[in-house]
């Protein structure tokens, strides 16, 4: 039975339960007019029964989907044909996979004749367990519904119970997001540990040489790559935290100040969303803008000034990234400037201060924590940005402060390390996870600090 059909059946049981329970609750109310008062309106009794019918069955179904393949395989292994299975794990798994695919009709015949003989066992086991799962799910739905239905009484606190179930449901929903994050962190950690078994963390965090090109064969020249990540960290900071911020902080702040303090309301109505569009432009578009338009221009300037320049440069990538994150800076600054009470502004103006004196001496200092928070968030966004740097910053791990030279960043290297055909257990590919971990930790810290700063400042006025 297909999962979708089964789901619909369970939902149907729930719907029937809903109607029945509501009707039953309504009869209580009707039976003794003035005497019996329902604790909850009939609809809540409906939801109470429906949730009891649907939720356990659904939870069972999900668990069953996970467990079923193992159960099927276990049953198939007991079939007589399974005795002939090869002993070594790899061949064994290959044959079993083939048999499973034949049984499911994905492929016509197997490479290994044994798999064809095993297939019927798989097919029958699969059918058996599928029916078993469906029956159990439906039984569970009926049982849950019935359990709840017989407990319907006027004084049943259906409303409170439903409320609690809804809360539980919401909790589960938010847990899924959190668990996913935890899973990502865990996999990063696990792979990083494998990396650090090959390359010492000290070399990784303090080495100045980055050339991860380990050889495929041990006898190749230069087979030991160098994994000193400092040039990458420097490139990341140079582009994301220095060049991009030199562009984004003044422009973002000034546009926020203009929008909150000077712009006419109608101008603000149009300009603010226009500015926010910048955040919505796909980063790949910024990337080719940086690579095809800005980078050649930057190179020309560099050459005109007699500075060593390359066709990919920190300045091109950082500058375009700065434009991209203007909205992050400006919208946080905008919010925090707007949150400074009007009375501060009035107080300053009434003392004979001009608008710009008021902004510089009262509003910006008062809004500073929010502005700083916005900048930190923008930095964390910038150092995690990938597309622009991949396209415009280059891949040469240079440790240079020359903005016209090509530098590379953590994100660009991760892309470089993981694209193309890779062995997934060489130091080269594992390095990507270690880099990812470092990036994750830094961004996380920046976010935590930023949120703290912002929160503290919010409290100041509330």
């Amino acid at each position: 039975m297909s999962p979708l059909l089964l789901f619909l059946l369970v939902a149907g049981v729930g719907a029937v339960g809903w109607l029945a329970a509501r009707a039953r609750a309504a009869t209580f109310a009707a039976a003794g007019p003035g005497k019996v008062r329902l604790h909850s309106v009939p609809t809540y009794h409906g939801w109470y029964v429906a949730l009891w019918a649907v939720l356990p069955a659904l939870i069972f179904l999900v668990a069953w989907q996970v467990a079923e393949p193992a159960l099927v395989a276990g049953a198939a292994l007991h079939s007589p044909a399974a005795a002939e299975l090869p002993a070594d794990a790899m061949n064994r798994a290959a044959v079993l996979q083939e048999a499973r695919d034949i049984a499911a009709g994905h492929i016509q015949g197997g490479f290994n004749p044994l798999s064809t003989r095993l297939a019927p066992a798989f097919a029958s086991a699969a059918q058996r367990y599928s029916i078993m799962g469906a029956v159990l799910a439906l039984l569970l739905a009926f049982a849950g519904g019935a359990y709840a239905f017989v407990r319907i009484r006027p004084e049943l606190r259906a409303r409170t119970r439903v409320e609690r179930l809804v809360m539980l449901l919401l909790l589960v929903a938010s847990l899924i997001a959190i668990l996913t994050t935890a899973g990502i962190v865990f996999s990063l950690l696990a792979e990083s540990v494998r990396f650090f078994a090959r390359v010492s963390p000290i070399e990784f965090l303090t080495g100045l040489q980055w050339s991860p090109q380990t050889a495929m064969r041990a006898d190749q020249a230069g087979s030991s790559g160098a994994f000193g990540a400092i040039p990458l960290f420097w490139g990341t900071i140079f582009i994301g935290a220095i060049i991009a911020m030199i562009v984004a902080i003044p422009l973002g702040l000034m546009s926020a100040i203009y929008l909150t303090q000077y712009a006419h309301p109608t101008a603000r109505k149009w300009l603010k969303p226009a500015l926010e569009v910048l955040a919505g432009v796909p980063t790949v578009v910024y990337g080719y803008f940086a690579a095809l338009t800005v980078a050649p221009m930057v190179r020309q300037w560099g050459e005109a000034m007699g500075i060593a320049s390359s066709s990919e440069s920190a300045l091109a990538a950082g500058g375009v990234m700065g434009i991209m994150i203007i909205p992050f800076v400006s919208s946080m600054a905008d919010d925090s400037l707007a949150a400074v009470p009007q009375s501060m502004r009035d107080g300053s103006l009434a003392l004979g201060a001009t608008t710009s004196e008021t902004i510089a001496k009262v509003l910006v200092p008062a809004a500073l924590p929010g502005i700083v928070g916005g900048i930190l968030l923008a930095v964390s966004r910038a150092i995690g940005e990938t597309m622009i740097v991949v396209m415009a910053a280059g891949l040469a791990a240079n440790l240079t402060a020359n903005p016209f030279a090509s530098v590379t960043t953590v994100t660009a290297q991760i892309v470089q390390l993981l694209t193309g055909d890779q062995e997934f257990d060489s130091a080269k590919t594992l390095a990507a996870f270690a880099l990812g971990l470092v990036l994750f930790v830094i961004t996380l810290l920046l976010n935590i600090v930023a949120l703290r700063v912002v929160k503290k400042y919010r409290e100041a006025y509330e």
């Binding site: 009375s343 501060m344 502004r345 107080g347 009434a350 003392l351 004979g352 201060a353 200092p365």
Partner: protein
């Protein structure tokens, strides 16, 4: 005395001097809504003038026209003539920044800047370049805090934040801040409405002491307060100036029925 003066304001002894502020035919609109309708009034230089009237009658609005704080509200529009020492404050030659230094303002809710006590008071003198050096600035701050009756309480904690003071202290800090730029007029919009009776008494005492040095205009909802601290009282109703005269006269013997109703508490 060359100008036409209304007979109520002529009845006092001080009326022989030129008024500090003179408004003639002032109307204020917020968008299409008229908040002040054709108000003419003269404010003495030596006296405390109280504005009273029911909520929403336009006291704050009118007060804010006197130092052009209404300019900061986009929808507000002012018509008529307002003169400070005979100079049209809405005229082309008037520098609004200069005007606000001459006509200071204290707001209903204390609004110290989130800076130190010292910096709060030093703010005005700094932007107007009133002090040549640090010593002079210290002197101005001390003098202003003394005049505002706050010096004794804060002299040992000048570097602390102004927002850490009590409400009454904050309000006196705001008064000190206004005094520090050495204004000619101080406008106060319900300066005691957020304060307890003791803090209120302190502010009233302070107003008493400041009288004569500055022309003071105060908006208040508290009729006893108006009677206690002011020499002249103006009663506003529905955007109009209903009656203006000697405080004692207004409270004991109002000429207009509406004033009498308000003062005796029949409405408002």
């Amino acid at each position: 005395m060359t100008m036409m003066a209304n007979d109520m304001s002529m009845s006092t002894a001080e009326a022989s001097a030129e008024p500090k502020l003179r408004a003639a035919g002032v109307s204020v609109w917020y968008g299409p809504k008229k908040a002040i309708d054709d108000v003419s009034i003269e404010v003495d230089r030596e006296n405390v003038t109280a504005f009273i009237g029911p909520s929403g009658c336009g006291k704050s609005t009118f007060l804010r026209t006197l130092n052009r704080m209404n300019d900061t509200i986009a929808s507000a529009r002012v018509e008529g003539l307002i003169e400070l020492d005979g100079e049209d404050i809405y005229g082309k030659d008037m520098d609004v920044v200069q005007l606000r230094a001459r006509v200071g303002m204290v707001f209903q809710k204390p609004n110290p800047f989130p800076k130190s006590i010292f910096e709060n008071v030093a703010y005005g003198p700094r932007i107007h370049g009133l002090a040549a050096g640090r010593d002079e600035l210290d002197e101005i701050v001390e003098r202003s805090l003394k005049r505002a009756g706050l010096w004794e309480e804060v002299k040992d904690r000048l570097p602390e934040s102004g927002t850490a003071l009590s409400g009454g202290q904050q309000q006196r800090l705001c008064i000190a801040r206004a005094i520090a730029v050495d204004p000619e007029v101080i406008l106060m919009d319900e300066p005691c409405s957020a304060l307890d009776p003791i803090a209120t008494a302190k502010i009233e005492e302070l107003i008493h002491e400041l009288r004569g040095r500055y022309a003071i205009v105060i908006v208040t909802h508290n009729m006893q307060q108006a009677a206690r601290i002011s020499q002249r009282t103006a009663f506003f109703h529905l955007g109009e100036l209903v009656e203006y005269g000697e405080t004692s006269e207004i409270f004991t013997n109002p000429k207009v029925e509406r004033t009498k109703d308000y003062i005796t508490g029949r409405y408002g």
